[in-house]
Symmetry: C2
Subunit: 358 residues, 2 copies
């Protein structure tokens, strides 16, 4: 109980930037004494590479900071960690609120630490860019996993844009990997563009679903099924088992409507009850099969390399656009041109030329 309470308050405090870390209660922290004196980049690098959770947390706080000096320090640390990163499997998990993501991740994470894995759970929450909230921070969740010394749970970073949040998460992955975490779970909620961002930073993308009344496939956000390497139907317990199995058949059929992926992996549908800890081993086995296949056919590395290129180009393009559209003369003239377009007094192309010449 003491542990749980400490965790709660740590999560709450972490919502402000002033509190630099969430410390895992069982972690051995050689840096604790230095907390008030700002450890150097080298201290943090050494700490991370030794698997020290406090050093990892402080480095992530630097990554998430808006202070230019902090960010420079963060870049130094990331650069030093790069050669030790990449030795992991990165798993994206999405699903609408209520699907049981935290219960699933807790059961799944505990299963993995039981196998001797070191598990880091991160989150991308598009709403945090507006509300500065945090999907992992607001509630007491994953109570068992948070006490596990081989697990590290970090609430989602807030930021001004999804791109910014995504960048912080990508860099946090590197730090976690350098600290020895071999299984990285990235959670997101099934709204906004966050799935695309998560899909572009993980090796395996898992869609959590519920069996329910009516047509199972209605209301699935466009494109999500295409991205999924697996669909897992959760809460398959009690009276829900039959509808879950029915949903499994339907989703399996839906997956066949899509062409085979470049990975040569045929997406699978499985059912589980995270609450009753059933079907969890199957999900892990499936991910291991995926890893084996894609490491054999070289798709695993190829995909990571493509993702890196994607983020490079994406970051540049985002910056170019944001630099352009935040100029006050552009803002003013854009409004003007949009009105003219709406009245059929100019074309989008002529309007664009005028704006680009400003």
């Amino acid at each position: 109980m003491a542990n749980k309470k400490n965790h709660k308050s740590a999560l709450k405090e972490n919502k402000g930037v002033s509190q630099p870390e969430i410390t895992n209660n069982n972690s051995i922290s050689k840096l604790k004494g230095k907390r008030e004196t700002q450890p150097s980049a080298n201290d943090l690098i050494n700490g991370i590479l030794k698997g020290d959770i406090t050093a990892l947390s402080r480095a992530i706080t630097l990554v998430e900071s808006k202070n230019t000096k902090h960010l420079e320090k963060a870049n130094t640390i990331i650069n030093a960690c790069l050669s030790k990163a990449n030795q992991s499997i990165r798993i994206g998990i999405t699903g609408v609120p209520g699907v049981g993501k935290s219960t699933f991740i807790e059961a799944f994470g505990k299963h993995l630490t039981g196998l001797g894995k070191k598990v880091a759970v991160l989150a991308i929450d598009p709403s945090s860019t507006i509300t500065k909230g945090s999907i992992l921070g607001d509630k007491t969740r994953m109570e068992d996993l948070v006490k596990d010394k081989n697990a590290f749970i970090r609430p989602s970073a807030s930021g001004d844009s999804l791109g910014g949040v995504a960048r912080k998460t990508r860099e946090t992955i590197i730090l976690c990997e350098a600290a020895g975490f071999d299984t990285i779970i990235i959670e997101t909620v099934g709204v906004g563009q966050s799935e695309v961002a998560v899909h572009s930073m993980v090796d395996f993308f898992l869609l959590l679903k519920l069996a329910g009344a009516g047509d199972e496939l209605q209301g699935i956000k466009r494109g999500i099924i295409e991205m999924a390497d697996a669909i897992v139907i959760n809460k398959a317990d009690g009276d829900n088992i039959k509808p879950a199995k029915l949903a499994q058949v339907e989703f399996n059929r839906a997956l066949h409507f899509y062409p085979l992926k470049n990975s040569e992996w045929q997406p699978k549908v499985s059912i589980c009850s995270a609450l009753q800890n059933e079907g969890i081993t199957d999900v892990w086995k499936m991910i291991c099969d995926y890893e084996t296949l894609t490491k054999q056919n070289n798709h695993f590395d190829l995909k990571r390399n493509e993702q890196n290129k994607f983020w490079l180009i994406q970051t540049i393009e985002e910056q170019l656009k944001s630099d352009f559209f935040k100029r006050s003369e552009i803002k003013k003239e854009l409004k003007n041109q949009l009105k003219l377009i709406e009245k059929n007094k100019t074309t989008p192309f002529i309007a664009a030329e005028i704006l680009l010449k400003l």
Copy 2:
């Protein structure tokens, strides 16, 4: 026969920029005498607004030109035509080569001119950005439609990029509408990103398919079905009728996997034989139903307005990117940074910062 031959040679000649127009043989051209003296923008505007095909063709040639003065003249003409544009239904038609697009468009177009409509057929061909070819220009196609005085057929513009070709097509639509064409058909082949471009400039998007052996739904390019307002299974004649009806059932099921569109239109699947002129009236009836529905619920205008905004932002973004990446110092350093990323010696974000500071 004379007409047909003239048309062929007109199409061939038009592949170079030197020949300014394809003239419809039955068109009344008051400008013919002026052909060598470069009609003024005002001459062309007046011609277009009177429905003169030669004036229309010459104006389109200006739109497609790379000469800055031509483009300025084109902009003047477009601006003058804008208030007379927009009075049409714009229909996008896609399908892989061999699906019978030209036979379908010919049968469909003839049906429409029979109803007193004026039909313009344009094309977007992504391969033309590489080969400078043209999907409507290379072959003798639509032999009957081309002789019809209420039809206007224009091969796809070539260009350096899909964005450039799309822009030219968008502007050509405006000119055609100002010339009194009330039904605009935009054809594209089922490769590349051209469907997305066409989808973003039409009111109704139609996917032509064939019934064949095996699973009908395998091999459909991702996202195309989502964009379709209708799937029409062509060549439903003779022994093909049964498989076509089977395919209709399968596609209908597939369409139900997607959430209802903003237009409130439930996409439909129909079968036809363009060769035997069967099922063509049904397709037109379906499009009329769509128009009635979306004009009632205001989605028709809303969509056009959204499309205009999309093209404005799209054009600006494309230009910003192209200006950035064509700089020689960027090209050089990009290669360098990509190598470092591949070797895990930097992150995409740090690399992006370096490039953006150049």
